[in-house]
Symmetry: none
Subunit: 194 residues, 4 copies
């Protein structure tokens, strides 16, 4: 009978190590010691470092769920702006930023983590976002067949890029971004309105 509490201790130790040292400095030895577990117990649950990080993501030990909820006041423009600003504020906390950077590194290095990273961490966000966009489309606020996925990924990608390059996502930045995807930056409408 494998002990659930030990598994939790391992995940918590992993999260702490991840925030403190980043992905490629993770040490299974250290995690096991911090969790008060034997190394074999860690390996019994998780065959690789990547699987460990992936499960950390999957169980929500890493990313705050707060940044996932997209508000719905009926005004898509305002909701999107508010959500993006809230997201940016979440990334202002060094702990969060370090964790997400570590997960990004893990995802970049490893296909399995990438899958989990996508499915769980970002897909949750992306889903919430695309759903909000579809709701707005149904409410007649968006063009038909608006590329919701592309827009959602552009927003998340822009935030991730800011995080990676150590640039803060200021309010001016998030507002500019919101306005750009809502109203576009071109003066003239699409030629021929294809």
């Amino acid at each position: 009978m494998r002990s659930e509490s030990t598994r939790r201790a391992i995940l918590e130790a992993t999260r702490d190590e991840l925030a403190a040292s980043g992905y490629d400095k993770l040490s299974i030895d250290r995690i096991a010691a911090a969790a008060g577990a034997g190394k074999q117990t860690v390996y019994r649950w998780y065959p690789t470092k990547s699987a460990l990080v992936a499960d950390c993501l999957l169980e929500g030990y890493v990313l705050p769920t707060t940044s996932i909820d997209v508000p719905d006041t009926g005004d898509i423009r305002r909701d999107l702006g508010d959500w993006l600003r809230a997201f940016a504020e979440g990334l202002d906390h060094p702990q969060n930023a370090a964790l997400i950077r570590a997960c990004t590194a893990a995802a970049a290095d490893n296909d399995e983590v990438a899958a989990k990273f996508y499915e769980n961490a970002t897909a949750a966000t992306e889903t919430a976002l695309t759903e909000r966009l579809h709701a707005a489309e149904l409410a007649g606020q968006l063009k038909k067949d608006a590329p919701a996925v592309a827009v959602a990924e552009a927003l998340i990608g822009a935030m991730l890029f800011r995080l990676l390059t150590r640039q803060r996502a200021t309010v001016a930045f998030t507002e500019g971004l919101t306005e750009a995807v809502m109203a576009g930056i071109a003066l003239t409408p699409s030629p021929a309105q294809r």
Copy 2:
């Protein structure tokens, strides 16, 4: 007098290792051996693995410059779409994808690499992109004060996100993205036209 040719051999070996094994499997021993150099010589030039990768980026050993040039036919909408599609095609080559993923991991893990990653690899792209956007603005094709930087980073960020999550950036995706930032996705104009 330190030998420039040795340094180049080290950077080339680093690039090859990076593409082959990813960032956190990089081995200085292996790089030195592949470069026909002693380990101490590697350390003389680069105190850390990160510095090595950072300089690799800085010297342009990693990223193909081809994806940087933004076409200028006078039609910003078409140019942007073409550039984004070319960019996506560049990422379709596994070698390129692996390299950029490795650099992303390195940047996520390390501040110094992040700075170099931004300054050199992405900033070059971002600059080209923002310059093209400003040109279009001057040509009266874009709204005044269009948030060129935010748009540029949204485009790059979206591509990076696709790369990280192992999703191909299809033509439909790039076209949707282009259309979204050019014309916006909202039906109505900005309220109050601020």
Copy 3:
């Protein structure tokens, strides 16, 4: 649970390296490889190269015990001569000579090895020798209060000196030495028999 067989393999590899390369060319890397052990395992058992060599001596991996036994036929003069000749013959084998030279170098370099070298390798010989001398004294064959220790060390020292200076200890040499310590070289007895 530390594995005794691994430890033995390490000691055997050390002895072989010692005979082949001498003390200051000893490489822990090479010993570990030859013993089929990890380097850390070597260090777990022996913190320093000296401790390794010292234990090699202590466990009798280096010196043949055959040369230690001093015969006892009742005739001290003959026994001593036979033993010395046997000792010299043992040193004629290049393998033995190399090993003892290496241990001598180790003992010269390092206090700990020196202690073990004395306690184990030479003291065993010296003890056997002094005991044989004391037995002879009791049997009335030697003068009272004969300086057994000094004589024993003179004999061993002479052999070691020959070894160090790469001179063979011929039968003439060992016989002259035996005769000298047994009968003295002075013509007259001690003046006044002080």
Copy 4:
């Protein structure tokens, strides 16, 4: 033009290093630095560490010549005792002891040094000793054909052995040794007086 003064500085630095660190911790880098010379200059003169130590011995940089002179008062018994005691006193100085131990290690490790060690350092002593013994023989104080060489090497070997095993050569020890080789330790004369 190779500078003699540089060579002397190198030999002095070598002697100091040898006394301070022992043979196998000798570092050519450190010697060169201490001598204010370039490494290449050291190598120009001496192809190996051993050759360096060997020349150090050959030029008398290491061993004090004082301990070599054997007194000649006409009384061989007293002269030998005095000389051995003086020798022992010389070895009581830690600096001398360390130097001779280092040279012993060097000689044990390396044939070339062994040759130089014998020719120069010990052979000088041995020659003085055997000459004194021959003089005594001519003066009718010793038996005919006394094994002078064996006795000389036994005396030196005994002192070396004491040095290696970190035992002081006390006055009791040296006197016992002198008496043993002069008068022998056997009660009866050689059987059959061959």
